[in-house]
Symmetry: C2
Subunit: 677 residues, 2 copies
């Protein structure tokens, strides 16, 4: 394992992160479409020697040259980065720690969810859980020395520096982020363009024009000093456009970045305690180190993509004004519904109220009706811009391929989300309030098979009229047609069966046993068609059940997860069939890469991490296929070695990616490993 | 002359621009530290042929690949850019026009200033003059053809697209800019990732997830069509931090970007008329084409750097709440005072009220007192972040070289600004209100020579105590010490003499004839020392009048401009001496580059355009040295050929720069050529 990979250390709901881990840069970002890649200097200076953790590209500022022209000052300093062999990184569920000679540095990030908002939940617990800040800890060990040492945490790429003094020592910026500790005689906030300039005699000082903010700690000879500080984010005012003009929810609870930093410093001991307890929970789990790494990385990228909005003042601050959004990572689409259905396993365990929040906004604002009935949009907008009601930012008519409508799949996703939410929470009043919509969903789903009940076979056959003649696509939009095409797709069929079973459970729950029975029959029809499509000559079910295609796909399994999570007993026949399917295709040349990593479609090198983790879980927990540690090793390597600058990236092409600093939230599906372990 | 250079087409006071002219990209920017460099496609499509003006780097979107993975659609289109020989560019004072086969495109930008705000000025005229929008005109000529043609204006790099419909046809973005025309049957607003995708069958449509917004015009066979549209900028809410929390003034007069675009469309005929009238004025002037180019380029970069702030609502909307700021170009420092003194020749002609506004804020908020008396800070902050009262973002204590205090020079700048403002406007009530400060300035200036009146020689000798032991610097901070050091500096001395004469004029104006006489004597003392420093062996005055230095510098002349602008007759002896000085040093190996461009200091390759233009003007108008067209050619070439991506850049190193997309406002000193022609 390498330790040279980027991670996003992020609070909840602030769409901000502090990137750290990649040996070329990181730092603060706010509403960014890529992981930050500024120079970060964490290290110490003794005499003319400076040693840093390797989170920077250049020790000298390029901007400085723009100001001083040919006036370059010579520096007596030597600046070196620790090499990988000198550094120990402990990357846990909640904490991430680097240890190198004389220094250690840690960040702690949230694992659990946003607490239930008032009036149902506690005001203070809610407020604390949306605090847009994370704690950091820098320790400098000068015990073996007879000379003093200066330790520093320095971040470049800052703009509009304002010195924080009084109750805080640190920096805030016009970019809306900053960092601070409590005042102490051995700590100063200083700044400059780069380390050589900062340490040019006579001595470091605050210089607000520059871009590198620094906390500087004096460590006397023979001593060890630990500096606790916090990183925070704050953006005030209305930050969205289009259909909704909203503010970050934290702005209704904290007045400013200094207010946030101050509260975070007060909470810091508790935040570290919580973090260490989550670390311990994962370390004590039965997950392998590769899987622990994957979940810890995925969890961070999930939170980095989250936003909790509120109506601007005077907002009630209560649940009804809140709007939870998961950005689609670097793509920045708001609440992509075919991601939401993957996030909800994690969300239902930690913050089920956000699932309801999202389902409500889709139901009330982002649903529409086509020739078959109701469905839901792919997303609610992009780039903080809410799209017009009933329309996504992504779907366009009359265009084949990527960007076509996902009508059938998004209908499944809303049904499954609603069913899993109600099953998990027992929120009967919400179920009652959505009774009518649930019935419409069932009707719409049936019609997508065939308008004539007599001609239904459980498979998707009707492309939405919204698509304007183009063929509907699935969530797997950038893969080959074996996964990308909705019509008669095996992945959709198994998921559709899951949705019928979910509907049956919902109808039973709502006391409508007749509809429940009917929905079970719909599920049976699905199953029958799926089983009938199994081709014994090839040993698996072709991806497109059109009598011609022979593509092998792993996500055939995916739809089994929903009834499983709802406690609906598996169907032995279907389970057996899909086990055979997977056993047949899970081999090199078909759905395994050479390194034993999983290849979702035999006909595409584009394999999505979130969906692999989900499929692995179904294979192991439902189909009874043993876990393959070589596959886990391959997947961990794809992220760590193949895509090190792209925390949580989903689309991996034969173990690598052309993207740089790309991040994505969806791999939080890996939480299923822990949830059901 | 080449036509391949970037220009910033900008409204007044909005800190926004539309970059166009460089053959690799341009587009919208808002509060940016560099000229925009997105792909801009302005062209036409006939059949499968697309031809564009060359304002793009790549015709295919890199972002698209991130979405579609390996699913690349083949395109039948051929996309070509016109080459330079096919394009005629007419770059005038206010309009910029490109003509190529079948197409012409023009932008018009303001030349004159922001009108006097209410209550003194007209509400409507003020409001119109801060409209954050500029008009654009696209003409497609399909008269020679029997096939229809589609013309387009397309800008990439947009985020959060919202379609404008109803009264407008166009796009707005969450970035706060956009463009629109009035609805017409032959025009549509569409969008996509790139042109090949846009024109992939069946037909172009709005697709808000993407980043390329387009206005698409149908042109029937045999017709010529002109599309008038507008580009606009809008950022609401509080946009500054630190000592002042302010909004853009236009937000108190326009409710939204669509409101801005709509008003701009109404005003469009008048804006074009005004622009053409300014074009004509410059074309009819006696300025050479090189100088016309320089002024037209400088004027645009000046406006691109301006911001007019207002208190957030409920603001009075009146002058007392307004705050005019010129950003220091790509450096983004707010109201750098040693730039302000260069901008004011232009500002006093077009918008003298902004000079008073700036002088007031320096007097009331950004002045301080050191061991010699009062002075003013270098700037008022940076990156929209106002620094604490009495401190700039730039100046730091105890540090030699760039970033040291400019106390002496900034004192001169405030005095000269105040004097030129009062001289130009006859604003007696303001002069009266600043009477006390003017007297303090005089006292402070004297003390910087020597605290003991008996030991004064008119030259700067006392470094400010604020500098904490370091040597004060001049505005020429990144040049060698011959221009950078304040103590006994010739440039400072001549400017100091100008300030004493300006003070004498002010005291006379204020009726204090005794102080007026005294200030004249101070000016005489300066003059005597300057003349005494002339070294007949070398034929010029050394830059540092310390008896050792022998550096030749051109800005020795600079200080002559202030008494000249105030109508104070030149001193024959000093004029003669400085003429000899300039004649001696203005030669290759000293203060001329090999191409006959001016080299401000013989010992630095870093020569500043704004200061060259000012010095040229002094040489011609005051010293009577004939203009040298070879020098003008060299300077125009530096901008066009040496620094084509850097509109208005000041710091040019031997005709070129390592910077990319850097812009700067100060070269508006070139307006002196026209003002006094």
């Amino acid at each position: 394992m390498t330790i040279n990979f980027q991670s996003l250390h992020a609070p909840r709901g602030a769409n901000g992160h502090f990137a750290l881990g990649l040996f070329s840069g990181g730092g603060f970002a706010h509403e960014a479409d890529r992981a930050a890649s500024s120079d970060v200097f964490i290290g110490w200076k003794r005499g003319n020697q400076i040693a840093c953790l390797p989170f920077f590209r250049s020790a000298q500022s390029a901007e400085l040259a723009g100001f001083v022209g040919e006036q370059v000052k010579p520096s007596q300093l030597t600046i070196s980065a620790f090499n990988e062999s000198q550094i120990e990184r402990n990357f846990h569920w909640a904490t991430d720690t680097w240890r190198a000679p004389r220094i250690s540095f840690s960040l702690a990030t949230p694992v659990s969810g946003i607490n239930v908002p008032p009036p149902e939940g506690s005001f203070q617990e809610f407020k604390d859980s949306i605090l847009p800040a994370i704690p950091a800890r820098l320790t400098l060990d000068n015990r073996d020395s007879s000379n003093p040492l200066q330790g520093f945490f320095a971040v470049n790429g800052l703009r509009g520096l304002q010195l924080l003094e009084g109750e805080l020592t640190g920096w805030q910026t016009i970019q809306g982020y900053g960092f601070a500790c409590r005042p102490s005689p051995n700590v100063r906030a200083v700044s400059h363009w780069d380390l050589p300039s900062l340490f040019t005699p006579p001595h470091p000082m605050p210089f607000p024009l520059t871009g590198m903010g620094v906390l500087l700690v004096k460590v006397p000879a023979g001593e060890i000093v630990t500096l606790d500080f916090v990183l925070g984010w704050y953006r005030s005012g209305i930050v969205t456009a289009g259909e909704q003009k909203l503010s970050y929810a934290y702005t209704n609870h904290y007045s400013s970045l200094p207010d946030v930093l101050s509260r975070a410093l007060d909470l810091s001991p508790q935040l570290w305690n919580d973090a260490e307890s989550f670390d311990r929970q994962l370390l004590d789990s039965r997950l392998s180190p590769d899987r622990q790494f994957i979940l810890a990385q995925a969890n961070r990228s999930y939170w980095a993509s989250t936003m909790l909005f509120d109506a601007p003042p005077p907002s009630s601050g209560h649940a009804e004004d809140l709007r939870y959004v998961v950005n689609e990572g670097s793509f920045l689409m708001l609440n992509t519904l075919d991601l939401a259905v993957d996030h909800l396993f994690y969300e239902l365990d930690f913050q089920p109220w956000v699932v309801r929040n999202l389902l409500d906004h889709f139901a009330d604002e982002y649903s529409y009706t086509d020739q078959c009935g109701v469905s839901f949009t792919h997303d609610q907008g992009a780039y903080n811009t809410f799209s017009p009601r009933g329309f996504s930012s992504y779907e366009v008519s009359e265009q084949e391929g990527c960007y076509t409508y996902m009508t059938h799949e998004e209908l499944l996703n809303w049904i499954l989300g609603a069913a899993l939410y109600i099953h998990k929470t027992g929120d009967r009043s919400w179920a009652d309030s959505r009774r009518g919509l649930i019935a419409l969903c069932y009707e719409s789903l049936l019609n997508r098979d065939h308008i004539d009940p007599g001609q239904r076979d459980g498979l998707s056959d009707n492309d939405s009229s919204r698509a304007g003649g183009a063929g509907e696509i699935t969530s797997y939009d950038s893969l080959d047609p074996s996964l990308g095409q909705t019509r008669r797709n095996l992945y959709i069929a198994v998921k559709c069966r899951g949705a019928y079973l979910a509907l049956a459970w919902l109808f039973d729950y709502l006391g409508d046993e007749a509809q429940g029975r009917e929905a079970k029959q719909s599920a049976e029809l699905c199953k029958t068609s799926i089983l009938a499509a199994f081709d014994p000559r090839i040993g698996y079910i072709p991806a497109l059940m059109d009598g011609q295609d022979r593509s092998p796909i792993i996500p055939a399994l995916e739809g089994l997860i929903y009834p499983h999570q709802m406690g609906i007993p598996p169907d032995a026949e279907l389970t057996r069939c899909l086990r055979t399917h997977l056993e047949t295709i899970l081999r090199p040349g078909m759905c395994l890469f050479e390194d034993d990593g999983w290849k979702l479609s035999a006909h595409s090198n584009n394999s999505w991490m979130s969906k692999i983790f989900l499929a692995q879980h179904v294979a192991e927990k439902i189909l009874g296929i043993p876990a393959d540690s070589r596959a886990d090793k391959a997947h961990a390597d794809w992220w760590q070695i193949g895509c090190p600058s792209n925390p949580g990236i989903d689309q991996v092409f034969s173990g690598t990616t052309p993207e740089k600093n790309f991040f994505y939230p969806r791999a939080i599906t890996s939480y299923l490993w822990l949830l059901n372990s």
